[in-house]
């Protein structure tokens, strides 16, 4: 059923349907909301929203069983990527891209991810030389959603975040499934598909409170020296963002056909880095994230599956993933460390779950994933030696047709920042180069650009 006219009748019908319980009718609704081609919102003519996210796993891969033998489309899936079979058509895999440190030390499990996130290699541990690429991307994508970005750490550790403005301003991750649910779908959540919209009168009070805070902050700023003024600027930015979000609450949210408010989690998962537990938390967070995207709560997200020093552990084992990468002998027959490699396989399973979760949500002429771009990477290639050559990277999603997928790209030793640059360009960040020193690049990875 396609209703093409944009008249009052359609709106009436819409109302009627929504009153009748929209949740069970996601698919027919989909058609109603979209234009003929299924590529734009019928009500506004706006293109479907795009999304950007990052996904991180620690401790790299095993070259011998990870790197596909063939490049380009229809690449082979070596054993360590077996879990990605189901999502192969949605992803690109990037190998043989390097992180160069220009004589700075290779800070184990640190230099690699810092460079791939912010384009510059750190000089010392804890140093984050520039903002992570999700920050300018979120800025370029603008507002219109409640949360500029959503950060999650499946490890449950509050320090596990790879999104930052600087070393002093790391964007904190959500570490609790219950708290994440509350943040997204708690009292302030406005169901975009709800038929009646009455703005909470308290929103107006909140606006006046925030306005008063800004006035106060101005007077406060006058008392500060130059450096602290910069710090206060960040505070201002944060208040303004909060204001925008409050403003949103006064408007009826645009309909989101695939949005179904998830069930509240009964209880939080216990603390710990047992891989089963982390996988469970990753799934729960992913499911909430997917719905947050479908419900237009955010457009940018950062997910950490395991941290770069990953202490993920198997029940009953003395050795964590990280210890195994250093202490487990390499099996001469397979050229891998079998137990360490087991963790990489689990990481790939989690990555597959993540991609599939996005691909399961129908949206317009495709899926949520088709309108998204996810940038995934690790901190090194072979963790045993902390190699910065060939740090594995992925993308997932077609970004509304702007990105080609299903390919294996061999970087020929090019700087890994090429992908970060490409991703930012695709997301509309107005830059003509990215990175510094040897990591500076202005070359997109043309193979994936449609």
């Amino acid at each position: 059923m396609l209703i093409k006219s944009k008249d009052a009748t359609r709106r009436g019908l819409l109302k009627g349907i929504l009153r009748g319980g929209a949740v069970a009718m996601a698919l027919p609704l989909l058609d109603i909301f979209l234009d003929d081609h299924g590529t734009a919102m019928a009500a506004t003519g706006d293109p479907l929203p795009t999304r950007f996210g990052t996904w991180f796993w620690g401790l790299g891969v095993d070259h011998e069983i990870f790197t596909p033998k063939t490049v380009g489309a229809n690449f082979d899936l070596p054993p360590q990527m077996a879990a990605l079979e189901k999502v192969k058509q949605h992803i690109n895999v990037f190998t043989n891209f390097n992180v160069l440190t220009d004589g700075k030390p290779n800070l184990c499990h640190f230099s690699g991810w810092v460079a791939l996130r912010c384009g510059a290699a750190p000089g010392a541990r804890g140093e984050l030389p520039a903002e992570s690429l999700d920050v300018p991307i979120a800025a370029a994508m603008g507002g219109g959603v409640r949360f500029r970005s959503l950060n999650m750490a499946a490890t449950g550790v509050p320090r596990d975040s790879y999104s930052f403005l600087s070393g002093d301003a790391i964007n904190p991750p959500e570490v609790s499934v219950v708290e994440l649910y509350q943040k997204l779908f708690g009292a302030e959540f406005q169901d975009p598909n709800s038929s009646n919209f009455t703005p909470d009168p308290r929103v107006l009070l909140r606006q006046s409170a925030l306005s008063s805070v800004k006035d106060e902050a101005k007077a406060f700023e006058n008392m500060l020296g130059a450096i602290d003024r910069q710090r206060l600027d960040q505070y201002f930015t944060s208040v303004r963002e909060l204001e925008k979000r409050v403003e949103l609450q006064l408007q009826k949210p645009p309909p989101a056909p695939a949005c179904v408010m998830p069930k509240a989690p009964a209880a939080d998962l216990p603390i710990g880095l047992d891989i089963e537990l982390v996988t469970e938390r990753h799934k729960a967070m992913t499911d909430l994230l997917v719905m947050a995207l479908a419900c237009n709560q955010t457009r940018v997200f950062n997910m950490v599956f395991s941290d770069s020093f990953s202490a993920l552990v198997r029940k009953g084992s003395e050795r964590t993933h990280h210890i195994l990468t250093h202490e487990e002998p390499i099996d001469p027959a397979t050229q891998v460390q079998p137990h360490a490699s087991w963790f990489v396989e689990r990481s790939m399973e989690a990555w597959a779950y993540f991609v599939e979760a996005l691909a399961k949500v129908p949206e317009g002429d495709g899926t949520l994933l088709d309108h998204s771009l996810v940038y995934a990477h690790s901190d090194c290639e072979f963790a045993k030696v902390h190699s910065l050559d060939g740090v594995p990277m992925f993308t997932a999603g077609k970004l509304g047709g702007k990105v080609k997928t299903g390919m294996h790209i061999d970087g020929n030793g090019d700087p890994g920042t090429r992908l970060g640059y490409t991703v930012q360009r695709l997301m509309g960040v107005p830059i003509d180069s990215w990175g510094n020193q040897s990591l500076k690049t202005s070359r997109e990875i043309g193979e994936i650009v449609a």
Binding site: R314, K315, G316, S317, E318, R319, E328, H339
Partner: protein, 381 residues
């Protein structure tokens, strides 16, 4: 000497045995273990974590209950003529006596049409309480049949004949599971066993055994298991639940001398009560993390019945038995301490399967093991 005085030395041994056994290798889960120090002698503290009637069960109850399992009181009532009239008159289906008496309170006022299913097997669990091999009457027992334990020992456990064909008390039955859960969750049931003067945990011809009521909770680790080594304080308010006897350990199995009279608090399917045992004995196989075995004695019949019959027992779907039959069966099978006048035995041999976790038993400053009920033999060499 108590383990508490040598905590680290004791712990040191348990780490050895536990973590770094010869078979330990990468990724193979290793089992936890606790053990007392043989060199210095010491104490084994235990907290009971499970307490269930010791029943012999075969699949489908074919061997032990060939005529089937007990039927519920609802069915007995339906099969008793005049059910509709009684319901109209008294308002509740189980008001079955001539004047609407409840069978749980007035079991002899109620007659059941469907007969009691008798336990038929000779196999069973328990301890030999009367000292006989054939169950003939003695000064403190009535004639009864003995079970044969898997070890081939003649054992007394007449309670098994009362409960053995009742679905609620058989494995996974409602009553037994409910009781197991509340046994672990309520500190009313916290029974501590302290074995002291232990020179060798595998073999020691003479050890002291004390029983206390505890105060603290258990730490569940899932699947009905509990963390060993938790701190358990003695509930000093109840000297009447402190008992003492001696015993021996042979091949890791503790056997106690009988405690002539022992009261124990038990919350039992939502009924708190003070159960009374004569000749209470323990036979526990000691493990690194705890113990399992049998606690058995002549259980005071009147108290047992009062504690047992209250609450949600005989309903269909829950207990699946008849109170009237149960009461009669219990008295018929009672085999201990005959009433000098009537000859009716006033106690029933009862064996319970228990599990225990090792525990650190904390003694209050004024802890005084009771001599209220037992004629303790502390002077024994």
């Amino acid at each position: 000497m108590r383990s508490g005085d040598q905590p680290e030395r004791r712990i040191s041994r348990l780490r050895n045995s536990r973590l770094y056994g010869a078979t330990l290798s990468l990724l193979i889960p290793v089992a936890p273990a606790f053990s007392a120090s043989p060199e210095t002698g010491g104490t084994i503290g235990l907290v009971l974590t499970s307490w269930r009637p010791a029943l012999y069960e075969t699949p489908g109850a074919k061997e032990e209950c060939p005529s089937g399992l007990q039927v519920s009181e609802d069915i007995q009532n339906e099969k008793t003529p005049g059910a509709a009239e009684r319901l109209a008159k008294f308002g509740f289906p189980l008001n079955r006596g001539p004047n609407g008496e409840l069978a749980a309170y007035a079991p002899m006022k109620v007659e059941d049409p469907i007969p009691f299913r008798e336990l038929q097997t000779r196999n069973g669990f328990g301890l030999n309480l009367d000292g006989t091999s054939d169950g003939h009457a003695t000064a403190k027992s009535c004639t009864h049949e003995k079970f044969r334990t898997p070890e081939g020992v003649a054992a007394d456990n007449q309670l098994a004949r009362v409960l053995g064909c009742t679905v609620g008390w058989r494995a996974s039955g409602f009553n037994v599971e409910f009781a197991a859960r509340e046994f672990a969750s309520s500190s009313v049931n916290r029974i501590l066993v302290e074995i002291s003067g232990v020179d060798d945990e595998r073999n020691d011809p003479d050890v002291e055994i004390r029983i206390y009521k505890g105060l603290d909770g258990l730490v569940a680790t899932g699947e009905g298991k509990f963390l060993p080594g938790t701190n358990q304080r003695i509930d000093n308010r109840f000297p009447r639940y402190m008992h003492q006897t001696r015993g021996k350990i042979a091949d890791g199995v503790l056997t106690s001398d009988p405690i002539p009279l022992a009261n124990l608090p038990l919350l039992w399917v939502a009924n708190p009560g003070e159960r009374k045992f004569r000749d209470l004995q323990l036979k526990l196989k000691l493990t690194d993390t705890g113990a399992e075995g049998i606690v058995s004695g002549y259980e005071d019949l009147r108290i047992w019945w009062n504690n047992y019959s209250r609450g949600m027992n005989s309903h269909g779907g829950i207990g699946n038995y008849s109170s009237a039959q149960l009461y009669r069966a219990a008295h018929r099978y009672a085999d201990g301490y005959p009433d000098p006048k009537t000859g009716q035995c006033t106690a029933i041999s009862a064996a319970y399967k228990v599990e225990a976790a090792r525990a650190m038993i904390a003694h209050p400053a004024l802890a005084q093991p009771s001599t209220v009920t037992a004629s303790n033999d502390r002077t024994k060499p």
